[in-house]
Subunit: 205 residues, 2 copies
DNA sequence: CTTGACGGCTAATTCTGATTAGCCTATAAT
DNA sequence: ATTATAGGCTAATCAGAATTAGCCGTCAAG
């Protein structure tokens, strides 16, 4: 990773731990292994570093969205998979999603940074809402909708059913962000949540 | 409200909007209607103002906890109420809780401030977790447990049932904090959530 | 009535932290 | 071989904000 990229990387780490205002350019520089004034050979200002992070974040998420859309829109192909979704497969889906968001390094740091900065900046609030509220509901709603139309889940309100699936995942995610020591327990809770979800929405026949 | 108290009040408002580091003592002073140096007649430093807010917050929540415990521990008295809890009453319970947390001025500002500052300060993270994670689950778990033992809800796992009740409420709360324009829609979603919750956990007989 | 505490003000002062100036070295292109 | 550029450094500089100094009016207790 070149210096310019490393600056973004270390800055993101620090911003996600303390928030923009509590990070000094000297901190960033030290992590990168250079002195503060040298940062200015790469970025015009501290703010420019932050902006570059946001740009990169947007880029990544566009890519991710495209990747998801390719699968998501090819519903006929995907639906074959989900038509036969067992409880184990559902468990796996929820756990994968949770662990990906929890541990994926970029996701984790972006999310924490957005959490801190969301009230300072409408744009960041919107990104947060998109990433952790709207997109998961859309995506998981599409999946669960397919499972439902295959007859494995029963509801007359897919949207709320999806909320019932996702809200606990989101809730546990924020708990673990705040206190990683709770992760083990959260994973157990997650499993029980999904099992009960499956029981509840699966058995009303 | 005397000046000393007003300082806390205005400081809390500002901290909840922008976070500690982005608020200047001059901002606080201006809101209070005095000049910055006069603040120091009341508090030793900016940090002392923040600390006083935390102290007051702790005091309030101890009181609140006591109030809840009085009701909560007197389960025999309360259970009469919840034994006959209709869907409408359940709806009301969820909505009350949601609106109280969303609109109560202290709650709203404390929560937003904690959201911003949680990663800077383990103590704040713990307070957040207690207030918005553990306490609601305990309290609502007690209530729903009573409703369940009255035979109106059915589950073999009250803890997860409570998570299913509360997680969507928490989720909608954070959505509205981030974007108050979503409040109207969130209230509708909340109602549908509770109705579906009631249908799901109520009908498995 | 006078005095001392309280709480306000203006004008410094001090600190902190971002940014700029100006220099140096290595390396890659002409 | 020369030179331009990239990227690093140290030593200023600048700006913004917290804090302190020192003054003043009010008012309640003696």
């Amino acid at each position: 990773m070149d210096t310019k990229q490393k600056i973004l990387d270390e800055a993101l780490t620090l911003f996600s731990e303390k928030g923009y205002a509590n990070v000094y350019v000297a901190d960033i520089a030290e992590r990168v292994g250079i002195k503060a004034p040298s940062l200015y050979k790469h970025y015009k200002s501290k703010q420019a570093i932050f902006d570059a992070i946001i740009d990169e974040m947007n880029k990544r998420f566009e890519q991710q969205a495209q990747a998801l859309n390719i699968n998501g829109s090819d519903a006929t192909a995907d639906s074959e998979i989900y038509k036969n979704m067992s409880e184990d497969a559902l468990l796996e889906l929820g756990r994968q999603f949770f662990l990906y968001f929890l541990h994926d390094d970029y996701n984790k740091r972006f999310r924490k940074m957005l959490t801190i900065e969301q009230f300072n900046n409408k744009q960041l609030a919107d990104i947060y809402t998109k990433l952790y509220v709207d997109d998961p509901l859309t995506y998981q709603g599409a999946l669960l909708g397919m499972v439902a139309s295959a007859g494995l889940l029963h509801t007359d309100n897919v949207e709320i059913m999806t909320l019932h699936f996702y809200a606990p995942i989101y809730y546990l995610l924020t708990v673990c962000d705040r206190d990683p020591a709770r992760e083990k327990k959260a994973l157990k809770t997650l499993d029980e949540h999904i099992k009960q979800f499956n029981r509840i929405y699966g058995r009303n026949k």
